[in-house]
Structures are given as C-alpha cells and as structure tokens.
C-alpha cells in the first residue's frame, strides 16, 4: 500500500532494466498501450513482464499496468520505484505519486493541471484520505499541477506535460478521425512518449501496431499519432531510458498472458472438452479455447461448454471424462467452492478430470480482480471423506505450460482429479518466454481399454489403478456410493477396506511415480544461511530477490514447491536438517502462510518465519529484499503492503 510520505529508493545507475507504470481509467485503453509496448520490446529482443491491476468494475475506476523490461534476463519480477509513469488521467498521477524514482519520468496530461484529487469521484475514500494528509504535510493545494511541481522539485522527476487535447487535435487534422473516436488515441499518446523515452525502434512499433490494428486506416492513424508524440518527446528529452542491447539471444518468443498460456497447453495436451462458467480471472482461458475450438481446420476440435453454474461445470466435465475424453474445468474460488461435491464424486469414481484453479483474493467474493495464493488448503482438503488427488501449482508461464500438460497426464495415469493451482497474477500477467519445445512433451493416457472385455470390472482390485474403459465400450457402473469392483453399491466391511486401500493406495503409486525432483526446484546458494520457501507466483520475485541478495553477499536460496500432493517431504526434510528449520522463511501471498501449514502437516517441520502479502497486489522485488533483511535481523513475521 502506498503509504505517505514516500521516498524512492532507486537511482537510475544502470540501464539493464526498465520499469514503468501506465495508468488510466478502466476501459480507457491502457491495455492497448501496454500491448503495443510489450510487443515492440519483445520484437527488439527484450524480455517483458507486465502485471495488470484493476478494480472489479467495468468502466471508470483506476487501473494500471506495471512492467519490467530487460535485455539481461527474461524478467519475472516487478519492482519499485519505477522509471516512468505514463498517466492517462490525473487520478493515475495521484495514485502513484510515491511510485516513481527520484529523477524518473512522468508523462501526464497538462490539460488537467487544475484537477483536484478530492474532486475525482472514482477514487476510493481511503486513498483520498491519505492524499489529503499528504497534501497537507507537503503544503500542496491538491491540484495535479501542485503535485507535478512537488515531484519536479522534491524528487527531481522529469515531468513531461503534454496537452492531450492539442495532440488529438493535431491528429484530427492529419487523419480522418471522428471527434467521438479521438479519445481512443490517448493510448497511443502514451506509447509514443514511452517509446521515445526508452528508444524503442520505429520498426518494432510498426510491427506491434500492425499486429494490433488489422484495419489499415486505424493502423495509419495510430502511427501518425505515434509519430507526432514520439518526435515531440524525443526532440525535447532524447531517449534517456534506452536499455542496453539485449543479450537474451532468443530468435522467437511467446508473448502471452497466463490464461492464454494455459489454453495453449491444454490444446497441446489433447483437451477435447472444457466446461466453464464465467468468473474472473479464469474465464479468459475458456474464451481463448473457444477462439481456437477448431484447432486446425477440419481436424481435431475442442468443445467449450458454458453451463448454468459451477455445479454443472464440474459434473459435466466428469461426464465427458467418463466418455474417455480429456476434460477440464477452469474456475476461481467461488466457483471452486461449488465444485467441491463433484470433485469428491470424481475421487470416489477415479475419474481423470482436471480443474484449473485461478486463485484470487478471498475469502468469499473477496477481491475478485486481485491476486492471492490463499486457496491452497481449501483445495488440498476439498470435499468430505478421503480420496486421492494431485495438486500442482505453477510459478510462471513456462511452469504453467508444462504443468497443464502434466495435469492431464497425471489425471489419466493415476485416475484421479487433478487440481492445477494458478493465480490472478499469472493469469493476467503478460510475459515473454521461449517457445516450448514440444518434441519433449509426452502424452500418457494411463491404462485404457478400448475393446470389449467379458466381465469387465471397472474397479478391479488388482492394483490401485485399474484399466479404464470409456463409456461406449463395455457395460460398467459408476456410483458415488461405496462400491465393489463392478461399480455396484456395496456396504460390506471387507469390500470397504479393500476398495479404500485400493483407492488410497494411489497415494503410494504417485509417491513412487512422480519423482521428487518434479516436486520442487531450488535457486540460490548451495550452502545457504536462509532459505525462502514459496510457491506459485512468488517464484519470479523470490528468485530475483535471492539473486540480488546474493550479489550483495548474502547466502540465501529459494525453495520453490511445485506439487502439494504429492508433497516434496523428503527435500524439505533434508533441507530443514541441513540448514535448520529455523532458517526457513515462508514467502506467500496469503495471511497464514498456507504452504507452511502443509509443510508442518506433511513433515512436522514448523516454519516459524513468514513474509506474507495479502493486499491483492504482487510482491515486489524491492520489498521482498527488504523483508528478508528484516527477517535476518530477527523479525518473525513481515507483512508486505506496497502497491496502489
């Protein structure tokens, strides 16, 4: 949370990494700005990561993109302060006063100089109160102009005031743009200014614009606007934020959100049925699947099925799985809650079904458009009674891609429901990453029977995983009641013990067949003094923090948990033994440190030190580094709060 007064912590000493914020009202076009810039940077060989922060609102509330661009590494972290803030409106400046580095750049609309923070209706009360206190403390009159002056004077910020009205007028003079449509070009005002400052090549911008604007006139009008602004800004300011040349040497990259990454992976994994009910931030995945439903012309297709609620969603997905197809549902917390009963049926009936679980801020409706990792415990223990499941969690786009495929493989290999945990951070973050090499990807459908087998027993007790025949091949029965080998209800005690041992025996099979190395990864010092233990989206920021801390001489490491069922108990056990359990620090996007709870439950190891963040905003490398230092100095619990 942006507390006042603020001091920025970073000077522009190196050009290895560019950080920016683009702010504006929800629905005002800032995603276009971001897309143009991201693709242009990628086109020039840089890695980009950009997080999108927005309210649960359709139009008008303050939204922003926060990005890191780097040519030295494929960036997977965000940090403060930023080098540039490009603001569509006054509210964006007010909201991010503290986020800009000393000597950074501010692009703003000079027409709005007289806007007052307390006259902006979309601003939340709490921020308004904090701003009021700030204005008072700094003796500012509350106008945008006063804030710009403050930034220039007290923070050496280079304020680039542009009259958006004038620029749009200029555009209208050059291109046939209707007056009513003109405001759509504000996004290009920002990209023009940003491109100028960061020295992105016009070729890259052209590429990016072409991709975005398929219609010729619109493309042209945008390029015109771009040229007007970029030449204006460049002529006055040069390109002070030009990055060093990229050393990434990637010839091709994917540029995609987490939602889209998972959708692509599902297509590769052979998904043939996806049911869903709209929910943020899961739904975009289903829309992407729908867009690609006819995968390759008249070849394979993916059936994407919108139902009336999530009860229907999970149960329809199970039905499709019984028919033998790779089937999944995608949802978020409230929807997952409604799937709990169906999940238990799938467990009881050994149905390979995948649930992609996009975590967002809870409890309840919570912070529907904000990120969190607070659904771990509720998914590991979802549904009454006991049945085996696999729970995976992805830390970045690349992991998400492969985990998605593994999810289907594990589901069929073990015949269990698989919960694949991702989160809003991942879902809505656009990242650049190498194109996955599919030649190494395997499809494992487990034991399947397609021919007719006399006396077929769906739940043959011979081995925990019985050969599975799709509906349509053999007569068989399924029931949520406890059952015998045929799938008929049985209440007999002896049968109960046998089938419980068969089903739960899968935990051992999984224990054997999912190698320990698959369950975690480790980054950092080989003989660390302190190990951060995290999962999911924490990965990017934690590895960054670890490498920065190591660069400053600290011996630290990051242990990343990738599977919660089965759990990497052996690794954590030996790490705790080697390093000392008191040197483990849970780093999580929730209140309790839920992975630490599961660590204790699985291993008896209590992780007493915690760095947590639950504001819905991602952790930033700068605050995590600082928090680690505080823990090193003896604090046991650090609650991170930064971010508008």
């Amino acid at each position: 949370m942006t507390r006042w007064p603020l001091r920025s912590r970073r000077e522009w000493t190196e050009l290895r990494e560019l950080r920016y914020i683009i702010g504006g009202p929800q629905g005002g076009g800032l995603e276009t700005t971001s897309e143009i810039l991201s693709w242009a940077f990628a086109r020039s060989g840089y890695g980009v990561i950009s997080d999108r922060e927005y309210f649960s609102n359709i139009k008008g509330r303050h939204s922003y993109i926060h990005a890191t661009v780097s040519g030295a590494e494929v960036p997977y972290h965000l940090s403060y302060p930023v080098d540039v803030i490009a603001a569509m409106d006054a509210e964006s400046v007010f909201s991010h006063i503290g986020d800009i580095r000393d000597g950074g750049y501010l692009i703003y609309n000079s027409d709005e100089g007289q806007s007052r923070f307390n006259a902006i209706p979309s601003m939340e009360r709490e921020l308004r109160d904090r701003l009021a206190a700030f204005m008072k403390a700094e003796s500012l009159d509350g106008t945008l102009a006063s804030v710009v002056k403050y930034l220039s004077d007290a923070r050496r910020v280079n304020a680039i005031g542009l009259s958006y009205r004038d620029l749009l007028d200029q555009l209208q003079k050059k291109e046939s743009v209707e007056a009513a449509q003109a405001s759509r070009y504000i996004s290009t005002i920002l990209s023009g200014a940003m491109a100028a400052l960061s020295g992105v090549s016009r070729e890259s911008i052209e590429f990016s614009m072409r991709r975005r604007f398929r219609q010729d006139e619109i493309y042209r009008a945008n390029m015109t606007m771009f040229d007007i602004v970029s030449s204006l800004v460049e002529s006055k300011h040069g390109s002070p934020l030009k990055l060093e040349g990229s050393t990434l040497s990637l010839r091709k990259m994917l540029v995609a959100s987490g939602n889209d990454t998972v959708a692509m992976a599902k297509a590769v994994a052979g998904l043939r049925f996806q049911s869903y009910y709209p929910i943020t931030p899961a739904a975009d995945e289903s829309f992407t699947l729908e867009e690609y439903e006819r995968l390759a012309g008249d070849g394979p297709t993916m059936l994407v099925y919108q139902l009336e609620d999530e009860l229907a969603v999970i149960n329809a997905a199970i039905g499709a799985a019984l028919a033998g197809v790779r089937s999944a549902a995608a949802t978020s917390g409230p929807g997952f809650d409604l799937m709990v009963e169906g999940l238990g049926w799938a467990g009881m009936n050994e149905v390979p079904v995948v649930v992609t679980y996009y975590q967002r801020g809870g409890p309840s409706t919570g912070q529907p458009t904000r990120g969190a990792q607070s659904d771990l415990l509720s998914s590991v223990f979802a549904s009454h009674g006991e049945y085996p499941r696999v729970v995976l969690a992805s830390g970045d786009h690349v992991e998400a891609f492969y985990d998605t495929i593994d999810a289907f493989n594990y589901a069929e290999q073990f015949q269990v429901p698989v919960i694949h945990l991702v989160d809003k951070f991942l879902a809505n973050t656009i990242a650049t990453f190498p194109i996955p090499d599919l030649s190494s990807v395997k499809i494992n459908r487990g034991a399947v029977i397609k021919e007719k087998v006399p006396g077929y027993k769906r739940f043959d007790f011979t081995y925990p995983v019985s050969p599975r025949a799709p509906l349509g091949t053999n007569v068989m029965w399924y029931t949520g009641d406890e059952h015998d080998e045929y799938g008929h209800i049985s209440e007999d005690s002896e049968n109960r013990v046998k089938i419980m041992e068969k089903r739960m025996g899968k935990l051992e099979v999984m224990e054997k067949e999912i190698p320990e190395e698959r369950r975690y990864s480790y980054f950092g010092d080989e003989r660390p003094d302190l190990i951060l233990v995290g999962w999911g989206f924490v990965k990017g920021v934690a590895t960054k923090a670890v490498s920065e801390l190591r660069a400053s001489g600290k011996k630290v490491g990051y242990l990343h948990i990738r599977t919660f069922v089965p759990f990497p108990s052996r690794t954590i056990g030996s790490v705790a033994k080697d390093v000392g359990a008191d040197r483990l620090v849970a780093v999580e996007h929730n209140y309790e440190a839920q992975a630490a709870v599961l660590t204790a439950a699985n291993t008896g190891i209590t992780i007493g030190k915690k760095i947590v963040k639950f504001t819905g905003r991602p952790m930033y490398a700068n605050e995590l580094e600082e928090a680690v230092m505080r823990v090193m100095k003896g604090e046991n619990r650090v609650v991170l709060e930064y971010g508008a």
């Binding site: 043939r272 049925f273 995968l295 008249d298 499709a320 028919a323 499809i443 349509g472």
Partner: protein, 316 residues
C-alpha cells in the same frame, strides 16, 4: 447398432432390487427394459444416468452403462457424456426431489439447450430414500405418512415448468400402465431433442395419498381426447401449443391426464448447433478423436507455431 435378439431381460443386471415390494419404480424399470429391447439399443452404447434417491438406484438394476451420480446433478453428468460422445443413447432417471428440488436449476437450463436425451422423472411426491419428506411435487396442505405437519409449500407443476424451460417433448406416464409408459419412453428416445417424462410413481411406503387406487381413478390418456394434437407444426405455433399444454397441465378436478402434452420438432438440437459451429462435430465428436500418436501430442512444434501464431514474436 441394433441387436435385434435382445429381450427386456437382457437389460436387467443381476443386482438384487431392493426397492420396497410394490413400489411403482418397478414399473419404470419394466417399461425401460421393454422400450430398450424394442428399440434394440446396444447395452454398451446406452447410458442410464441417475441422481440420488430410490430412483437413483435404477442404473444398478439395468444391464447398460450405469452412472449413479449425485443428488440433483444427473443432468450435467448426462450432458457431459452425451456431448463428448453423441453416439451414446442417454437416458436420465431422476427423483422428483432430485430433479425439481435440488436439481431444478439444471432442469430449467437443459431446456435451453435441447440436447438429445430423455429425462424420466420418478414422481412420487416424496423424498423416498430419506424417508418420506415432502418433494416439490407434493401439494400444499397434504400430509403423507412421514410428515409431522401438513406440507407448507406449493407443488411445482412439472409439465408447466418443462414447457417454460423449453423441453421439446413433454409427456406424462404412470407406473401401473407399463405399456403406455414404454411407448412414451420409446417416443422420447426417438425424439430429437430434450424429452421430459413425468412418471406418476406411487411410493407405497411413504405416500398413502397418491396410491395406485388414487391414480387409477383419475388417470386418463390425452391421446384419447378428441382432436388432441400436441405437435408444433411450425415455430410460430409454439406459444399456442404451449398454452394448450399448460391448461392441460393445470387441469383441475379429479382428472389427471397422461400421454404426450407437447412436441416441438422445430428446434435444432444442441448437437446440430454444435455441428454448425465446429463443422466436424457429428463425424468426429470429442470421444472419437485421437489426441496423440504413440504418446506424442498431435500438435507438434510446427503446428503449435502455426495455430498460435498470434502469440509468437520473431525478434527482428
């Protein structure tokens, strides 16, 4: 694949049927097995899906694919199965609590899709398996045996609700008229679209009001009504035929119509709609598609970049 040698007995499993002696449910199983035999359905490609309740046990007594799901959820399971593999004949057996109580949301929603399947409701006015509480089909003020107080909620009219929901085949049967019921089931299975059959099914243990005697006195066949024509000839005629069926559904006095209330063959099935969209759905539904070649995904490096070219940037 019609296997003509199949008899009703071929469709019975060897599981002991533990319904109460005299339960109307036996009539439903009899009618179903007869209908299946007459239609010559292959057991492996016939799927009976049920919810939870006395009615929910139906699949175990049948020798076809049997899916005994969750209370209220039979329809979504059936939808997933049918859409994944439209070569399967899908029949749902659900209790009245199952379908019009806890599952009524799915009941209404299926009507919007017209997926080609048959829904048989065991209408016994009570929650049988939980020991006789009021089901949503029980009239207000009635007090069957197990109720401590007279029922305080109004009954839902299943036919009216099916009409408003968009079912394209709507009928009522009665378990003591097995042949009549069998014929309706056959028609329903052969109908292209979502078919709903409200089956009057006396619960001999808990419902001492709607007994066989009670129904025998009141039931009459709509098809014997002069000029009764439930079939919608063209979509414009639909509201009129719905209104006509609605009036029959609410018929007062001591007359309970059975038979076919409404048939609308003019609405495309969901499968047809899907085929229009996916082009290859009918020939290559999900269950018929391969996803790999010997463990290698169908989509390789090249295909991936082609299909998802939108996401690929070539550094240049």
């Amino acid at each position: 694949m019609a296997l003509k040698q199949l008899t009703p007995a071929s469709y019975r499993s060897d599981v002991w049927n533990d319904w109460c002696p005299g339960c109307g449910n036996f009539g439903i199983v009899a009618a179903m097995t007869q209908a299946f035999a007459e239609l010559g359905l292959a057991p492996e490609s016939t799927v009976v899906v049920s919810g939870i309740g006395c009615s929910g046990k139906t699949p175990h007594f049948l020798n076809v694919e049997g899916i005994h799901t969750l209370h209220g959820r039979s329809l979504p399971y059936a939808e997933g199965i049918r859409l994944a593999n439209p070569n399967l004949t899908v029949v749902v057996n659900a209790g009245d609590g199952d379908l019009l109580g806890i599952g009524v949301g799915h009941f209404v929603s299926l009507g919007r899709r017209n997926i080609d399947m048959t829904v048989i409701m065991h209408d016994n006015t009570v929650y049988g398996l939980t020991k006789g509480q009021a089901a949503p089909t029980l009239g207000r003020g009635l007090q069957p045996k197990a109720l401590p107080k007279p029922n305080i909620q109004d009954a839902i009219n299943p036919i009216a609700l099916a009409l408003a929901s968009g079912y394209t085949f709507i009928a009522r049967g009665y378990t003591s008229r097995v042949k009549h019921l069998k014929e309706i089931i056959k028609q329903a299975i052969e109908h292209k679209g979502s078919a709903f059959i409200d089956v009057l099914q006396p619960c001999v243990t808990y419902d001492n009001i709607h007994t066989v005697e009670y129904y025998n006195k009141r039931v009459y066949d709509l098809q014997e009504v002069e000029k009764w024509d439930p079939v919608v000839k063209s979509q414009e005629e639909a509201p009129q035929k719905m209104a006509q069926a609605m009036l029959k559904a609410y018929e007062g006095g001591d007359r309970i119509p059975i038979g076919v209330f409404y048939v609308n063959p003019n609405v495309p099935t969901y499968e047809e709609r899907l085929n229009e969209r996916l082009k290859t759905y009918s020939q290559m539904p999900p269950a018929a598609q391969e996803i790999d070649r010997a463990g290698v995904p169908l989509i390789g490096n090249e295909g991936f970049e082609r299909i998802f070219s939108k996401y690929v940037v070539t550094v240049g």
